[in-house]
Subunit: 345 residues, 2 copies
Amino acid sequence: MPTMADVAKLANVALSTVSYAINGTRPISEETRQRIFAAMEELGYQPNALARGLASKRSRILALLFPAPERGLGITELEFVTAAADAAKENDYNLILWSSELKKIDELRELTQQGLVDGVVAMEVHLHDKRIEMLREADFPFSMIGRCAESDGIDYVDIDFDQVVREAVDYLKELGHTRIAFVNHSQAEYDAEYGPAVRAEAAFAAAVKDAGLPNLVRRCRAAPPAGYEAFGSLLSEDPSITALITMNERAIPGIMLGISEKGWSIPDDFSLVAIVSSARAAEMVMPALTTMEPPSAKMGRVGVELLIRKLESGDQDTAKILLPCRLVIRGSTGPCRRPPEGAHG
Amino acid sequence: MPTMADVAKLANVALSTVSYAINGTRPISEETRQRIFAAMEELGYQPNALARGLASKRSRILALLFPAPERGLGITELEFVTAAADAAKENDYNLILWSSELKKIDELRELTQQGLVDGVVAMEVHLHDKRIEMLREADFPFSMIGRCAESDGIDYVDIDFDQVVREAVDYLKELGHTRIAFVNHSQAEYDAEYGPAVRAEAAFAAAVKDAGLPNLVRRCRAAPPAGYEAFGSLLSEDPSITALITMNERAIPGIMLGISEKGWSIPDDFSLVAIVSSARAAEMVMPALTTMEPPSAKMGRVGVELLIRKLESGDQDTAKILLPCRLVIRGSTGPCRRPPEGAHG
DNA sequence: GCGCATCGTCGAAGCGCTTCTATTAAATAC
DNA sequence: GTATTTAATAGAAGCGCTTCGACGATGCGC
């Protein structure tokens, strides 16, 4: 493997000159530059990333922090990862995967102290997230996909849960639904203050309140039987429910089973909206689900770009980006045909 | 950030002695070791990964090569990635994601020449894969999740497609099905010689031949409408088909639509088996799909472990590991109730 | 009790870069 | 025309580690 010294010798310049030519750190005459690049070409030279990182104190490596949650990672999360990797590559960075457990902050701290990565992107952020606290205290560069409770001074990109839930509720209301239920992630996720679980539920409460509708909510493990149970429990609280919004993809089959056992069909008797849900999952069921589709790839990409921006410009002001989900109407929603008891119609 | 020199000074030993203590490269007296570790503790010392890598010529960084296929990555692939990251971490390695396009081999070559990674794990391998050829020619350490046509001397872990397909066919045959169709990945994937597409189809041909059954096959894009079409086309070739095996997850909703439009219900009139398909997807549809479930996490893990073994032992013999899929019977399969025309019964 | 291996440690030479300071030649100022 | 920049390059000092060769101090055989 040729080194910079080899290039310098062949091009008949000093080693430092080669470095300047490569990095553009100092002006180099056109003629010299040509000679240097020709020599690099001839030798098939590639700068050594480790040496470069050691000398410059910038490895151009980023880490993506993704804990494996109880609920399991889905297509949405996969898209964060691939988009993040792409964005990193486009900016000449490498992306390392750190599958950090939420509890093992010491492990994370050690990793950040090894000088391997210039900064980290945190995924699956909780409202009070030890990882975030640690990074902040250590003054280690990072950005978030998601956000915590106290996000002052931290760059993040997150889903605008208020918009998402409100748009879903409004859409169903326009279809005539007035008894709309919400099936959240699990109680455990809620207790752990997983951002989406807390924010979406709060947003739902606000949205139905503003719309003058009842707040019908269940938390539910990520499994069909749990969805079935949650649906039954909702119906026993209010049998006139005609529509349901959920963020809990894996509960959906159970919910649909409950609906069909009632003798109802989708969308004629019951409407279903999956929020923050990928087309992949939505198209697996019949009828295909109307969704509020998250900009997953964009989030992964922006998460990385925010971090790089902070790394490269001394620029201290923080970017807080909330992205909307897009309503994609498929076959699981339709006009309300069962007006609530006591209503006229 | 404290350096090794700081530790050495505090422990009153030479810098090299600290290094030996940390790496166990040379014997160190128990007393000295204690003093050194105490000093490290006191200073909160963490070795610098870049410096260590530069000096030792081993970065302890691996790269996972995952091209984004036309068909889109699924849960199975996500599990490769997370399991690979976990396995790497357990062995004190870091895992970088390289979302390499299959064509850009030069890009890959450059990456391998930067000295950043010690080896790579290739995913989504094709029978004649340029990436593999390049790695082999460059004598760069690697392992495969999947395998190419000529795998001599290369470590890999792959699914045993013969076992998978044969077990699925046998299972259906035992249920009395004698007209079994196979829906493969797309023609494009087949033409690109994507390993699973080629191997599963060949395995199906062999299995039905041995069983004395007709070879009913369609290639099909990864989308419900394509699945619908493929199903229709299969039925017009042989209307007495009563069971179908597919590896094409995303075509399934279309296939199921076709079945229900025929007035058939699953599993009473028609059986469906999804091979190399995750529980996640299988449980999204109703009835839940009987699957041949891939050992995704194990594959990701073993892919990494094979590479590490090769890296750390000079050991030259290669490991070729074929893993079976596990038959998980859910609601989409049952006894054959529509015997083929011309058959007695 | 002398030679010889072994143990534990040290000092120094890199690993392949970046970057600081120095140097020379040409350009500009007045 | 001399002083002063500026442009272009060179040389050298690190970055924080691993590893080689050396060396004194033990332990052992016979």
